[in-house]
């Protein structure tokens, strides 16, 4: 076989491998990902699927009972909110009014969070908060 033909075959083989791997990547990422929702988007829904709930912690709703942390999350722009029940590590930056993300599913009107899934956005920049 002459070298240029050999090179061409090699190129085709490696490109197809790359395409196959990329297709696998795309496929697994869509099946493994969790959708992000705001409270207003899932209020009243009955499906038990897992979401990442994002929004702000409503003021004066944080209650701790032993291991269990309960609070309400509202839309970033809006007041519709959902009760959340959570256990696990509470990030240091968790506060009322902060933006948080928590993974879990809606069960009987309460968003039951997966353990340790709570993430708080770090308030590295205070200006935005003080001005609002």
């Amino acid at each position: 076989m002459d070298p240029s033909r050999k090179r061409k075959i090699r190129l085709v083989v490696s490109l197809s491998v790359a395409v196959l791997l990329a297709a696998g990547l795309v496929y697994t990422s869509f099946s493994a990902s969790t959708e992000a929702r705001e409270p207003s988007e899932i209020i009243g829904s009955t499906s038990g699927s897992t979401y990442e709930l994002t929004g702000k912690v409503v003021n004066d709703t944080v209650v701790r009972r032993g291991e269990d942390l309960r609070f309400r999350i509202r839309d970033r722009e809006g007041s519709e909110n959902l009760p959340v029940s959570y256990s696990g590590t509470i990030p240091d930056a968790f506060r009322e009014g902060r933006e948080v993300i928590v993974a879990g599913s809606l069960q009987g009107g309460v968003f039951v969070a997966e353990r340790d899934s709570l993430v708080t956005k770090c308030p590295s920049k205070f200006t935005a908060e003080e001005k609002s």
């Binding site: 090179r7 590590t89 509470i90 770090c122 590295s124 920049k125």
Partner: protein
Amino acid sequence: MTSLGTAALAVGFLTTLYAIGAAIYGAVRRERRWVDSSRLAVYGFMGLMVICFLVLEVAFLSNDFAFQTVAEHSSTTTPIFYKMTAMWSSQEGSLLLWAFVLSIGSSAVLYLTRDSQRQVAPWATAVLMVLAAFFCGLMLFSVSPFVRLDPVPVEGAGLTPLLRNPYMAMHPPMIYSGYVLFSIPFAFAIGALITRRLDTTWIRSTRRFALVAWIFLGIGLLLGARWSYEELGWGGYWGWDPVENAALMPWLLGTAFLHGIQVQERRGMLKIWNTGLITATFVFCLIGTFLVRSGVLQSIHAFGASTVGGPLLVLIGITSLGSTLLIWSRRKDLQPERRISSPLSREAIFLINNLLLVGLTAVIFWGTFFPLISEAVTGVSSSLAAPWFADYVAPLGVLLVLFTGIGPLFAWGQLSGSAALRVLAWPVALSSLTVISLAIFTDVSSSPWALFLFGFAAFTFVALAQEFARAAITRRALTGESMPVALGSAMARNRRRYGGYTAHFGIVVLLIAVTASSSFQTKEDLRLAPGQSGKVDDYTLSYEKLVVDPNNERIAFNARLAVSKDGERIGTLTPARQYYPTQDPSAGPIGRYFEGEATSEVGLRTSGTGDLWTAFQPDLAPIEEDVEAGNKALADAGPVAQGIAIVAIADAYAADPPAATFRVIWDPLVIWVWIGGIFVMGGALFAVWPTSSSRQRAEVAKAAKAAREASGSTANPGGRS
């Protein structure tokens, strides 16, 4: 003082514009005077940036709250070290840091290439100064670090408590220096492409800068990981968070570039690939800056909505599109001088390693930007969690370890089958033995990727040992030195090679530690009241008592945990939680001391076999009544009475605390993450350190130049460093 800063910034901006114009004019008209003048302008720009930097530092150190950024990120009670580092916790301060480091790096590289690179350097100057003009322009017209507050506040907001950790304070300048210094090889690559001077000169004169950038970025990653481990209270050092990924991606691409250019220098191959890699590395540095500043992805690091996202995105677009077109238009000049003739050659293994590193970057890129991708495709933003990343990174990392071991064993060009067998014999034999004994005597095989990784790591260690031994033996035969001396002098004679091998050793140690600590850790959340105890792995932890430690900055609750193993007490751990007061008046005069920011200080027991890591989350519900009462009774009382009340409340709580949650982690081998990291950086530093022979060469070149000038000759075609 703010006006001095603004003035220096404005003059700096004009200087960059002049330098761009002079460099391009001088390059096009081939007038050295203009090129020299542009270089001097870059030095001047550095002087102005140093002034800006000092003005802001002095403002932080002297509590000059007339500076808005000082009032927002520092206070009179902030410790001095954090006053000095508070600058880059703000957006405007980190932009200034970018411009400051860029001015120093540009001046250094232009000084070193002042007598060479006649064609390439002016264009590189133009590229670097376009970047400088961009960042100066942003500060001047959008987010200035020199905004004046009127009236001047008497006290500042202070630095976010989470950022008060020495690792945290030092990691942004490291990451930024890495990002910025990658612009130097990038700028010279662009210069070489424009002038079609595509031999290895641009690589040789900037590869040290690439390596230094890589070291800075690597140190930044390590420090950030250490901060996460000590401060964030979740027990990990890497969480595949977008901003972590943003710093890892250019580091991986930079690693590929540092290896790719060796193939180009030795074999004249991978020219398009290398110019593409350095472009991609630099674009990812810009993306890293963008991700922190734009808030487009959900991240614990996001700095809130910001105004610089748009302009940065435009810069990223222009840089990637422009460089791609430029490389495409020069593809004929970038033809390889040879082709890879055999898979049994060092260049073939380097290419595979390059592909693995780029593949790793592609996976991380996809995962990081998946929320945006999925929103574009399906209309709903979805995100990928750490397990998805691990599924891809584990196999790629395992293969990377294997090829890291094989690469140095194979020679450039081609290796005969029997020679390959000879160099592979020992590593293959000993790594097989390792895998078999691990599978029989331990339960490592419960995690197949871990077993593979440990096996390949053994392979790489044996291969490296073989290389070091051969160098020492050859050297001893030549000089009759003793073994250790021979090894030392052999290494000193080829710093680039043996520094590289040391870095390889370090990265494999690091990956072993990462694998062990992620696959075999034990994590428990214990709920303990004082006097109770719980068991994690082989350790029994009992909650002895709670100690209150207030000072003028915060109130700390320190939990004392007695640690025992096999019934014998082996130590005490003191995980703590610290409460910083909030400025928010709605919390009340007493409440504000408990409702503000809180940080964790972990209790850590480190050993060579693993870390016992503990974090403490107290339940402060019982003090709410006291705080309410205090808020009412002491609303108008002076700070002294309030202070006494706060300490009294805290002491009463500590005397009879309720059950608290302790997170306890047994993290095997985790200390080797940091030790391995130190070896990687040490090895790279060893490689980049100027050798006596390179200094001699520089002196010879200088003498030759002086001789030429004395004889009146002006011929210096091309110039080689």
